[in-house]
């Protein structure tokens, strides 16, 4: 009977097996890299908006408070995207003819809201409540980044579970004075950690926060 395989068949089989092995490892590494890539987390990716609203100009330049537009952030689960009327408090007087603002005027005339695209979006199985975070003094900037430096809005941090747990497992470090919650620049606070070290611990006690329970599943998955 003649040989079924050539002399090199064994080597080729081994090479294929080795290649499969390395492909699996490479696949795992790729998946890991992908999960943290900005492509998957959308960090830094600008969303197309109907109107190219600049937070840099309105927050950084003009100093408008976050709550002026995101009206329900202190009282509700959702921070709220601004109604057209809020834009029009100024823009009925300013830049009334600007072509860039045409969709806003159109929206006011027709009564159809502007379809703002959400930038910071959590999965549907995550229960997140803005109000409690604001009330306890977790600054906007902690999750949304320096919006005062964003000409166009982009996601600032990867909204992965490990990001949430980072604070939930160590709440003291995340707490700041609630009356300054919309402050963007905390560099002076962070510059002297000794001065403010006790603040968080004191507040955890004052608010009755139980850090051991803060990473229970049902805190966020209800």
């Amino acid at each position: 009977m003649s040989q079924i395989f050539t002399a090199s068949a064994d080597t080729r089989l081994r090479t294929v097996l080795l290649a499969i092995f390395f492909a699996l490892i490479a696949g795992g590494l790729f998946a890991g890299g992908y999960m943290d890539s900005s492509y998957a987390t959308l960090v830094g990716w600008v969303q197309n908006q109907p109107v190219p609203f600049s937070h840099e100009h309105h927050v950084g330049g003009l100093g408008i408070d976050c709550r002026y537009c995101h009206t329900t952030v202190e009282t509700s689960k959702h921070a709220g995207l601004p109604a057209t009327h809020i834009c029009m408090t100024c823009h009925s007087q300013l830049w009334t003819g600007a072509p860039m603002l045409a969709p806003v005027r159109e929206s006011l005339a027709s009564g159809k809201p502007i379809a703002w695209q959400r930038v910071a979006r959590l999965p549907d199985y995550v229960y997140f409540d803005h109000a409690i975070h604001i009330a306890r003094g977790v600054p906007c900037v902690s999750c949304h980044g320096r919006v005062d430096k964003m000409p166009l809005m982009a996601r600032a941090v990867a909204l992965q579970m490990q990001f949430c747990l980072g604070c939930h497992r160590n709440p003291a470090a995340a707490l700041h004075p609630p009356d300054q919650v919309t402050r963007m620049d905390w560099s002076d606070w962070n510059k002297h950690p000794e001065t403010h070290k006790l603040y968080g611990q004191l507040m955890v006690k004052t608010y009755g926060i139980e850090p051991a329970k803060l990473d229970d599943c049902n805190i966020c998955h209800r």
């Binding site: 943290d36 990867a158 579970m161 747990l165 980072g166």
Partner: protein, 446 residues
Amino acid sequence: MKDAASTTVVRSETVSEEITRIPLGFPNPRAWWLLFAFALLLLATFIISVAVLFFYGVGVWGNNIPVNWGLAIANYIWFLGIGHAGTLISAMLLLVRAHWRSSLNRFAEAMTLFAVICAGLYPILHLGRPWYFYWMAPYPNTMDIWPQFKSPLAWDFVAVLTYLTVSALFWYIGIVPDLAAVRDRASKRWQQVFYGLFALGWRGSAHHWARWRQSYRLTAAIAVPLVVSVHSEVSLLFAAGPIPGWASTVFPPYFVLGAAFSGFAVVAMIAVVLRHALGLEDLVSERHLDLLGKFLLATGLMTAYGYFAEAFDVLYSGEKQEMDTLFDRFSGAYAWSYWGAIVGNFVPLQLLWWRRVRVQPILLFLIALAVAVGMWLERYMLLVTSLYRDWLVSSWGIYHASFWEWSLFAGMLGVFLVPFLLFVRFLPVISSFEVVETLFEEDRHA
């Protein structure tokens, strides 16, 4: 003496011939195609049921609070239990050198492999978000958490995956020398290449055999304790729930033995069908049917002890809720499943006390079928009767499996049958070299 040796050589040639001719030129293609078409139909049912399940979510099933473990978990346990018999026949009997196993082990192992695949699919399918099933694995993740090791779901994942890996390895190591035998007899090119590739260059040298024996016995030694640990795990996923009727200390051995019982039943059914369909009556002989019958009877009686011990536990504890659940099993809404299990498992079984019944293929098949059904009813009964009435009357509720649960069950039989039929068609269903070895040993002792 010399004569005996030469007849053994002749005999071993014919045995190898008899087994290897099956994959090379299948003896009964028409019957196989008929069965395979039926199996494909079931597989299509599976695909449709899963598509519906994934599209609409687990709401298409009948399970809900309070019975949140329905057919999915009952079938999971049933399939996994069936799988254990293959390992027991193969690995345990290998280690205790019971040579008669060599006529049964190969297809019993294949049965294990495919039954474990069916079992493993169920916990994945019953998830709310099945596409995240890999969350049960401990891997570096962006959630910064481990899987919940207190959850039976995480246990299932580890148990099934370990068991699947070991049974696949054990089956494959065992089949390599036979693949080489088929390769050497193959005349068509594709057959030579197919069997040649999977025979991994087996030449049958003394080195090969020594290493083969080492790895085979080692894998067997890993597989046997796995049967006990995996099915004990399954029983403990009941014990993890504070539900009346799930806390008896007899559960782990009761489940392991019940698993072996149902598995031996299915092995007996497959043995009866295969020997008839493939004309292997001389290899899977009356003696094997006899031994399978004895195994079935023995494990059946041990399972019966489990029933007894479970009831005794309840009566001895005198705990009210436990007693209520026990009596409800006798006469409540699901009494049919309790008495169905008792009758299916233990009544026809008593016929196996007679050798004449044990060696009668049709009777053995029917008794084994009754056991397979009975053991299925047992799992259903254990799940549903405990869950539908727990501590609070306000949370009582009846469970009926929905159409899509039944169709998935039927489809899962297709998931089992399709690869099994392919195995029967294309691979050596009996370990020919081990049969030959057995014959040789017997001749030497004679």
